[in-house]
C-alpha cells in the first residue's frame, strides 16, 4: 500500500466507494432490512397489521399444513421452469434467425419486442379475453367449422397454469431475443471468419463458438427472467385471478392474499420467507460461479 501523498489522493481512493455508498445503504435498508423485518414477522403472531412479538414456528407449521400453499409452490416450479426455459430457447432461436441478414429486420424485431412494453395488467386482460372458451379462440375455431375443438385450459383446474406460461412467454421472450441478438452480434467476426476458412459449417460454428460466447447474455437473461417469474403477480391476477379456485396460485399471490386480504400477515410472511429461501438456493450458486470468473477476466 502506498502512503497517501495528499488528502486529495486519499479522497480519490475513497471516492469510488463514496459513489456507490448511497446504493449500498439503500440496499441494506430497503432490501435486506425489509427482508429481516419480513423474517421477524414470519415468527410473529401478526394478523391484520404487523405485530412484532415472538410466536415461534407456528406460522411455518400452519404454512406447511396448508394445501393451497403446496399448490402455489408447485405452480411456481412449473411456471418458473417452463417460462425461463421456453423464453431462453425461443429467444435464442429467434435471434439466430434474425441474425441471418433479414430484410425488414427492424420491423420484425419491433414486433417481437413490443409485448415487453405492455404492463402485465394489459397482457393479462388481453389474454384472458383470447383464452376465454366462450369468447376467444375456442369459439373462433368452432365457428370456423371445427365443432368439437376444445381449448378451455383457462378454466380447467389442471391446465390453467399453462395459460400463464403462454401469456408470460409472449410477453418476455422478445426481450430475451433482443439480448441474444445483441450477444450474437458481439461475437468477434474474425473468429468466425477464421473458422469458416477452416471449413466449419454454420451450425457447427453456432454450436461451438457463438453459443458459448453468449454466456454473459444468458447470465443477464436468466437473472431477469427469474426476477420476472417470481414477481409474476400482476399477470396472474389479471389473467386468472388465481383461479379456477386457487389452481393458478403462486407464492406471490398466496402471500398477498393471506397478508392483505385475509389479515394473516404472519402466515404471508412465512410464505415469502420460503420463496426467498428457494430463490437464494438457486441464484446464489449461479451468481457465485459467474461473478467469480469475471473477477479473473479483467
Amino acid at each position: 500500500m502506498n502512503k497517501f501523498s495528499s488528502p486529495r489522493q486519499m479522497l480519490g481512493d475513497y471516492l469510488p466507494k463514496l459513489v456507490v455508498a448511497p446504493t449500498f445503504i439503500a440496499a441494506v435498508i430497503f432490501i435486506y432490512g425489509f427482508m429481516l423485518i419480513n423474517a421477524w414477522l414470519s415468527f410473529s403472531s401478526s394478523r391484520m397489521l404487523p405485530k412484532y412479538d415472538w410466536a415461534g414456528f407456528i406460522q411455518y407449521e400452519k404454512l406447511f399444513a396448508n394445501d393451497r400453499w403446496w399448490v402455489a409452490a408447485e405452480n411456481l416450479l412449473i411456471f418458473g421452469a417452463l417460462f425461463i426455459i421456453i423464453c431462453l430457447v425461443l429467444g435464442l432461436f429467434m435471434a439466430i434467425f434474425l441474425d441471418q441478414k433479414i430484410r425488414a429486420e427492424g420491423a420484425i424485431r419491433t414486433i417481437y419486442l413490443y409485448p415487453m412494453a405492455l404492463s402485465f395488467i394489459v397482457t393479462g386482460t388481453a389474454w384472458k379475453w383470447i383464452l376465454n372458451p366462450e369468447l376467444g379462440i375456442q369459439r373462433l375455431v368452432r365457428e370456423m367449422g371445427f365443432e368439437s375443438f376444445t381449448f378451455d385450459w383457462l378454466v380447467n383446474t389442471d391446465m390453467a397454469i399453462y395459460t400463464v406460461v403462454i401469456a408470460g412467454v409472449w410477453q418476455s421472450s422478445g426481450f430475451v431475443m433482443a439480448l441474444c441478438l445483441a450477444g450474437l452480434r458481439g461475437v468477434d467476426d474474425n473468429i468466425i471468419k477464421a473458422a469458416r476458412i477452416d471449413g466449419a459449417s454454420m451450425p457447427f460454428i453456432y454450436r461451438k463458438i457463438i453459443i458459448p460466447g453468449l454466456r454473459p447474455v444468458f447470465f443477464s437473461a436468466f437473472i431477469i427472467l427469474t426476477h420476472i417469474a417470481i414477481k409474476s403477480f400482476d399477470l396472474i391476477i389479471a389473467l386468472t385471478g388465481g383461479g379456477p379456485g386457487f389452481a393458478t396460485d403462486v407464492p406471490a399471490t398466496f402471500m398477498y392474499t393471506y397478508s392483505f386480504t385475509r389479515g394473516q400477515i404472519g402466515l404471508g410472511s412465512a410464505a415469502s420467507m420460503m420463496m426467498l429461501m428457494a430463490v437464494i438456493t438457486i441464484i446464489v450458486p449461479y451468481l457465485y460461479s459467474e461473478l467469480r470468473e469475471k473477477n479473473n477476466e479483467h
Binding site: R47, M48, L49, P50, K62, A65, N66, D67, R68, N132, P133, E134, D152, L154, V155, T157, T240, G241, G243, P244, G245, F246, A247, Y256, T257, Y258, F260, T261, R262, G263, Q264
Partner: protein
C-alpha cells in the same frame, strides 16, 4: 372552508403530506362503476352541501382486495384516510388495532340506537361505542327466476331443494340452462351458504358459520348440503367457470337460464335492462329459506384523527349517510334497502318491499343471519379458508362430500 389553491400547490411542491387540509374528507371505496359510482357521487354532493370537500380515493377490484391493501399501508404509515368502506367483523378487527374514531357523539345526538335494528347497530360498535355507520342492507338468499323459461319447460318455481331438482331437470330437458352461475369463489360460496341455510336451517347455519363449531362443520347435515351443492353443477352450463356475476344474471334476463342464486344487487341488472319484477322476472327466497334472511350490510368506518375540522367532517359524513334523503337515493340505485328503519318504501319496487318486510319479521324470529360469503359472519381469514375448501370441492369431481366436510372443519380451525 376552501383552502387556498396557492397554499395547496406550495405544500405539494414541498412534498408535504396533503392529508391534513381543513375539512377535506378522504373516502376510500371501490364503487367505481355506473350505478354505484352514481350513488357515491350523490354522497359527495350532499357532503359538499354541508361545506366540506370530498377527496375521492377509489380503488376498484372485486370485494376491495386492492383497497384493503392500500388502506393497511396508509394506516401503517400513519396517514389513514378519513373514512373507508369496511364491513362486518372486519370492523371489530380494525377496532382492535385502536385506530378507529368514536362516533358516540353524533350517534347519541341523532339517536342511532333507535334508527337502526340492533342486529346492525351491534356490528357498527366496537366495545359498545359506535365506530362505523351502515349504508344499506342487501339480502343475499334471493333466487331470481325467469317465468317464461319455467313456462316453456312446464316447471314450477321450487320452494324446497327436492322441488329444485325436479324443476331443474325439466328446464334442462327443455334445452335451457337451469342455473346461471359464475364460477368465482365468492359466487360459489354465496350459493353454498344458501344451500346450507335451505337444507339445514337457521340454527345450523349459525352454529356453522357464526360459531364455527367444528362438530357442525363436519356433520351429516353438512355432508348432505355439500352433496346438494355439488349436484347443482350439473345444471349449469360449460361457460360458467370464471364468469362474472352480472353476465350470469344476463342469462336469466335473456331467457337462456331459468334461475340464479344471487343477492339483491342483481336487481339492478334487471332494471337496467328494462325488466319489470313480477312480470319479466320473479324474486323469490331461495329454496328452503322463505322465513330466513341472510344480510350483507355495507358500511363506512371512521378513523381516529386529531384534526378537529376532519372530525367534524366525519360526523357530517356519518350523519349524511344515515339521512333519509341519502338512504333513499342510494338504495334506489343499488338495489338494496335502507339500513335506517321506518323509511317509506313507496318509491321502491316490489322485491325491495318484500325485502324490507322480511327484514323486520326475521329479526323478530331470530332468523336474520349474517352472510358468510359476504364477510358478515366471520373474519376474512376464516371466510377465505371456507372459500378455498368450497371452491376446490365445487370445481373438482374427485373429492367426496365427506372429505370436503372434514377439510372444511380443519381449514376453519387452522384459520383461527
Amino acid at each position: 372552508m376552501k383552502v387556498s389553491k396557492l397554499v395547496l400547490s406550495v405544500s405539494l411542491a414541498l412534498g408535504l403530506s396533503t392529508v391534513a387540509q381543513a375539512a377535506e374528507v378522504e373516502v376510500l371505496h371501490w364503487w367505481t362503476s355506473g350505478g354505484e359510482a352514481k350513488s357515491v357521487a350523490e354522497l359527495k354532493k350532499m357532503l359538499e352541501a354541508r361545506g366540506h370537500q370530498w377527496k375521492d380515493f377509489a380503488v376498484a377490484g372485486g370485494a376491495g382486495e386492492s383497497a384493503m391493501t392500500v388502506l393497511k399501508s396508509r394506516v401503517v404509515s400513519g396517514n389513514p384516510p378519513t373514512a373507508a368502506q369496511i364491513k362486518g367483523p372486519s370492523i371489530q378487527e380494525w377496532g382492535g388495532e385502536g385506530v378507529l374514531a368514536n362516533l358516540d357523539g353524533i350517534a347519541s345526538k341523532e339517536g342511532w340506537d333507535q334508527l337502526l335494528p340492533s342486529v346492525i347497530s351491534d356490528g357498527m360498535k366496537y366495545k359498545g361505542k359506535y365506530v362505523a355507520v351502515p349504508v344499506n342492507v342487501h339480502r343475499v338468499n334471493w333466487m331470481w327466476t325467469n317465468p317464461e323459461v319455467f313456462k316453456k319447460a312446464g316447471a314450477t318455481v321450487p320452494t324446497t331443494w327436492k322441488e329444485f331438482f325436479i324443476a331443474a331437470d325439466k328446464i334442462k330437458a327443455a334445452g335451457m340452462t337451469a342455473v346461471a352461475h359464475g364460477g368465482q369463489p365468492w359466487q360459489d360460496a354465496t350459493t353454498f351458504e344458501t344451500v346450507v341455510l335451505g337444507s339445514a336451517g337457521a340454527d345450523f347455519y349459525t352454529k356453522a358459520f357464526v360459531e364455527l363449531d367444528p362438530k357442525t362443520l363436519n356433520s351429516p347435515k353438512m355432508i348432505e348440503a355439500l352433496k346438494i351443492f355439488h349436484r347443482i353443477k350439473g345444471y349449469t352450463d360449460s361457460g360458467s367457470p370464471g364468469r362474472d356475476w352480472n353476465l350470469a344474471t344476463a342469462m336469466v334476463i335473456n331467457g337462456d337460464a331459468g334461475m340464479q342464486f344471487m343477492g339483491d344487487w342483481a336487481k339492478g341488472e334487471f332494471t337496467a335492462a328494462g325488466k319489470v319484477p313480477g312480470k319479466d322476472y320473479l324474486c323469490v327466497a331461495a329454496p328452503g329459506t322463505t322465513t330466513d334472511y341472510t344480510f350483507n350490510v355495507d358500511s363506512f368506518v371512521m378513523f381516529d384523527l386529531d384534526d378537529k375540522e376532519q372530525r367534524k367532517g366525519q360526523n357530517d359524513l356519518a350523519s349524511t349517510i344515515l339521512s333519509p334523503a341519502f338512504q333513499e337515493v342510494f338504495n334506489l340505485n343499488k338495489g338494496s334497502i335502507p339500513a335506517r328503519l321506518n323509511l317509506s318504501m313507496d318509491k321502491f319496487d316490489d322485491c325491495a318491499k318484500v325485502s324490507a318486510k322480511d327484514f323486520v319479521s326475521t329479526a323478530k324470529s331470530n332468523t336474520l343471519l349474517p352472510s358468510m360469503a359476504h364477510g358478515m359472519s366471520t373474519y376474512s381469514s376464516t371466510q377465505g379458508a371456507i372459500y378455498d375448501t368450497i371452491t376446490e370441492f365445487y370445481n373438482s369431481d374427485s373429492i367426496t362430500a365427506e372429505a370436503a366436510a372434514k377439510k372444511l372443519a380443519k381449514a376453519v380451525a387452522a384459520a383461527k
